[in-house]
Symmetry: D2
Subunit: 129 residues, 4 copies
């Protein structure tokens, strides 16, 4: 499964001394983009063909808080839901395997504002699960 290694930066932590809840969405987005980039799904190219990929729903379950100096990794897997939806299934783990967060990000492909079947290169990634 795809994974990217990151570490907590002090400015990502808030008054409570832990990573702010919103920053996890930064980590998750960054991991998705790196995953797609590595798999040659090119947003710019799709956009030129008039195909947009938009996030319609995000669900994050916070298990344990990330703290300053923590080193962690973010996983990415894809699954198709129905005809037009793609779910990115992601987890964040400490390097020792402790689960910190689980997340599902639902995306939809659209052309001229109407939902369409996701591009073949994305479905191919989902199929490999």
């Amino acid at each position: 499964m795809y994974q990217i290694n990151l570490s907590v930066r002090d400015y990502e932590c808030d008054l409570q001394g832990i990573v702010n809840n919103a920053v996890y969405m930064n980590y998750l987005e960054h991991a998705r983009h790196e995953f797609l980039l590595e798999n040659k799904v090119d947003f710019a190219e799709l956009a030129e063909k008039g195909i947009d990929l938009v996030v319609v729903q995000s669900t994050l379950k916070y298990k344990k808080p990330l703290k300053p100096h923590d080193k962690f990794y973010v996983t990415v897997a894809l699954e198709q839901e129905g005809r037009v939806k793609i779910n990115f299934i992601q987890n964040i783990y400490l390097m020792d395997g402790t689960l910190m967060l689980t997340a599902t990000t639902m995306g939809v492909a659209s052309k001229k504002g109407r939902p369409i079947k996701p591009p073949a290169e994305m479905l191919a990634l989902a199929a490999t699960l």
Copy 2:
């Protein structure tokens, strides 16, 4: 219902020319904190009594994207779920009433790491719904 008026700042927008998905969590958190502050729920005071309030789950449904210069408002309502959970129900609307996002943030009160019944002042806010 409680609401707070905000406007999009250019630095909150990303490459796609719209507000970045993670920034909505900033808006939602800010609205929750202002709401609680206005209702005299004092995190610092609760923390001194050993009571922590932690977010355990966030769900965001993106309806339409906020864009540069948009003026909008964020609503906050509270509901109790079961014995120990509190849900913050929040929406984001353009000033003309267009719904942009709906969100549910589930929090749990805990003392020495064990879930406890939420503080009376929070339950009082839920009761007013």
Copy 3:
């Protein structure tokens, strides 16, 4: 002098319990953009004519730290420096007038990558000082 009123949001504060140093640049940029917008300096329109406005230098002097719940205002004034430079002179004050930060942001107008005289509408703003 132009000023914009803002208040500290909790997520802008870091581990030290004060507004993170980088966040002041967000405040300053937001105030500059609102100032220019209000004075009909339209970046998009200038860009269509091939005129770019870029920041080449920022200097921030931190006097006192902003803290959670602080209400403050940011001022903006413009001065021309030499033939091609524009300086934005900005201060941040608490509502009671306490000076928190002073900043100078130097911008240059350019066309096809070469510095040019800033657009007349910007120079007009500088002239009013």
Copy 4:
């Protein structure tokens, strides 16, 4: 000289398609903290002794903009200025050595709100320049 390797994350870019000016301060702070951590200058420990280290001035000179997918490194060097000031001298370079930004961050050590001589472990780092 100390250096840390980073890469641009899409969410750090703004409407103009380049890294937002404020984000460079995040990169610089992160590099400084990693540098100090690696050299055993422990902020938490100093704070317990009542010694605070605060930034009093930042100057950033923007040479060329960082763009999506850019890989870059941030350098850190220290110099003492006068009796109580420490300057962090930092540059950001693309991996091919292209200079993107130069920055000076001036810090002061203080005890009970009065400036003091910086801690010996910081001066030792400055002495090695």
